[in-house]
Amino acid sequence: MCAQSELQFAALIDALAADPRRRERLTELLHEDHPLYDQRGAAAIVRMRGWVLLALARIGVTDAALLFVLEELDAGVDAYLVAAAARALRSYPEPTATFVPFVMRALANIRYHDDPVSFDNYGEYTISSTGTSPVRELLATLAWLGPHARGVLSEVESLRAQPGGLPKKLFSELDRAVESIRDGAQVAEIGSDACCTLPSGLRHTFSRARNARRGCEPIESTIFEDHAGATLTFKEFFYGRPTVVVFFYTRCDNPLKCSLTVAKLAQVQKLLEASGLADQIQTAAITYDPAFDLPERLRGYGQNRGLRLDARHRMLRATDGVNALRQHFKLGVNFIESLVNRHRIEVYILDAEGRISASFERIHWDEQQVVHRTIEVLKEKSDETPVEVSPEPADPTTRRKIVSPMFASFASLGVAFFPKCPLCWAGYLSMFGIAGLEQIPYSPWLQPALVAVMLINLASVWLQGRSTCRMIGFYLVSAGALVIVLSKMRLGLENFAVCGVVLTLVGSLLSALNVKSGRPAARN
């Protein structure tokens, strides 16, 4: 039985949204395995998750919640959830081009299921088509994305002309979106690096270093039955070679989840075969619904999706130790009776000792990327020095954002400390010792170059501040630059140059830290 009624749940969400100190818990409630979702029907789960997304839409989507919003747009087929996700995305601090493919995919997935939805009260279903709908919300989101969606302008425009395209009643929203995308005034403003930045909240791939991987002792003895009816333990199958593991169930009614996942696993197998690794790397598709997915059913499901099935490539159902398996993988799934009521997309790469070395969650994964990662695991040697792997493939733009202000800080330091007169040289000589005099070349041309770098730093910090809505770094760097310039004007303020350098350094560091810590809390 469900401990909390749906109305109590809705009240909890509203209370969490109203309390800034507890808002983070809203994101926790988007995890499928949360106990609150246990033993509820799929329609109830839709209402509950939709209400959480709408609460996020009111208070602003954070980086931590962003993945859940994008997941819904990527693979959602329920009108209410897709509409709520589209609305929630618009509360993210700023639009970026990264969101555009998600919105377009959602539009393609849902446009033939554009059921009217109501966001006014919890659990409300509209009986009027005048309200909102997923397509309306997605068009509004495209309008919000504006010039960031320039790449799909022709695609959006064609929605009007296509036979069986959007209904006439949506033309005004469509026109608004097209107008917003074309808006030239905004185009100039997005010329900065903000246009293509991958939001740091988009962590759907995780890698674990060898020494950070959890052992699989708790599930070693979990018993599986495969597609042919053969019985084997976790240890028997998963030890010895790396394995690509996907989770699915045959009664999943979302074609963008289980069916597609198994079809993609078949593609992984083909890539492995093409690389001559089909015997060195195993694949497994494990069902969430072992009581129903009997061997014959598993076999038919896999074969219909082109899956290769043999001793190294199996479809499995856990006949014993299902809960241990669920806990070990921290599966994103919940149930009503024996049936799945909601699950995420999840793919794991296990090393030769059955330990999880990488996972791909929620958002659709790339088969080639999974194969590459598995080959890396295959190449691991047992005696190699453990190397911590980045939690996700590092985003070069993010790295650049942090490095740039730091580099420029050193440039400012260079301007301040550059020896500009014989006295300066004397000072340096006293510091480094007379022995090094002949090794320090005097280059007057370096001074204007360093001034230019200081100005670049100033512009860079301003852009950072603008994108993160935190200008304190820029103010400090500006003050620092001013002090440095004044100190060099022979007004008797030479000693203040150090203050300028310190201000520049602190401002640049603050700016860099703002980028690293992610975007600020969403606006109300």
Binding site: A43, I127, A291
Partner: protein
């Protein structure tokens, strides 16, 4: 004049006027626009309107406005019930293929949700049926409310269970278990069992019913089918026992014979002389239904 006579006179008048106008065309030749003008004309007889609505051109119309006009008739509570039912049928046919329908889909769903609480029980049931097949959350919520509180029921309990069973992810399992435990009617119990068939944890319930000779034959047959889906090995064990029991019902024995013939362990059955001898006896002495199943069994296992 009675209402019936008045209606008949009106109908014949309108029929005459149609003929007199010389504009009447056979349904096969009528265009969607012409059929629509009849279907939406409240002054035409109910029969004429229903006939026009059920013609293919309207359902296949490529004009959004045509289908919108039909939808308006469906929404109008003042329209005769037969006409509204015919519009529902037309729109449902259109939903399968007419390109123009996609533009109306949202409106159609909204109208169906409205119809789900219409005073007319048939319209209500049909609308809920269409919505339930699409796994509509609104329909499921209303049906579940009706199961939990009979005063809120929009359709009979048995029908509600049947409609909820279209979605295996619905929240009707606990209610269904209660109904199986304390059934208000035999039909309700049957429908509750059919719904529970999707839940693998309900296998023990079906096993118990299959083995209970006091249970209705239909429920035991459902149980046998469900066991074949959820736990075929256990069904095979019970099927053998049922076949060897001379006091068992013919229908159940026939079902068990089919299960063993289609899905039995060929090696084990080939060595089971007791079973084969008994089935051989059934093939000559039992009812025609059992005889036929027994012969198929022997054909497979006795070569």
């Amino acid at each position: 004049m009675t209402t019936k006579k008045r209606k008949a006179t009106k109908n014949s008048k309108s029929a005459k006027s149609t003929k007199a106008s010389g504009k009447s065309k056979s349904p096969a030749k009528r265009s969607a626009r012409a059929a629509l003008s009849v279907a939406t004309n409240a002054r035409r007889s109910v029969e004429e309107r229903v006939a026009a609505l059920t013609e293919a051109p309207i359902a296949a119309s490529e004009k959004e406005d045509d289908l919108q006009a039909v939808l308006d008739v469906l929404r109008n509570k003042e329209e005769p019930q037969q006409v509204r039912l015919a519009t529902l049928q037309t729109l449902q046919a259109s939903s399968f293929g007419a390109p123009a329908f996609e533009s109306l889909r949202g409106d159609y769903i909204a109208v169906l949700r409205e119809l789900a609480t219409d005073p007319d029980p048939e319209l209500r049931q049909r609308a809920l049926g269409i919505l339930a097949r699409q796994k509509d959350g609104f329909a499921q919520k209303k049906l579940l409310e009706g199961l939990r509180d009979s005063e809120k029921a929009l359709v009979p309990l048995e029908k509600a269970l049947q409609l909820l069973s279209y979605d295996v992810h619905s929240d009707a399992y606990s209610v269904s278990r209660e109904i199986v435990e304390k059934p208000p009617s035999t039909v309700a119990k049957r429908e509750a069992l059919r719904l529970l068939a999707a839940d693998a944890t309900a296998a023990p319930i079906f096993e118990k019913i299959l083995r209970d000779k006091d249970e209705m034959a239909e429920n035991r047959q459902i149980s046998a089918s469900v066991m074949q889906t959820l736990n075929p090995e256990k069904l095979r064990t019970h099927a053998r026992e049922i076949l060897l029991d001379t006091s068992e019902y013919d229908d159940i024995q026939a079902t068990c014979l089919t299960a063993l013939t289609q899905f039995g362990d060929a090696e084990a059955i080939a060595q089971d002389e007791t079973l084969k001898t008994h089935v051989d006896k059934l093939s000559s002495e039992a009812s025609p239904k059992v005889k036929q199943s027994a012969r198929q069994f022997l054909k497979k296992y006795s070569g």
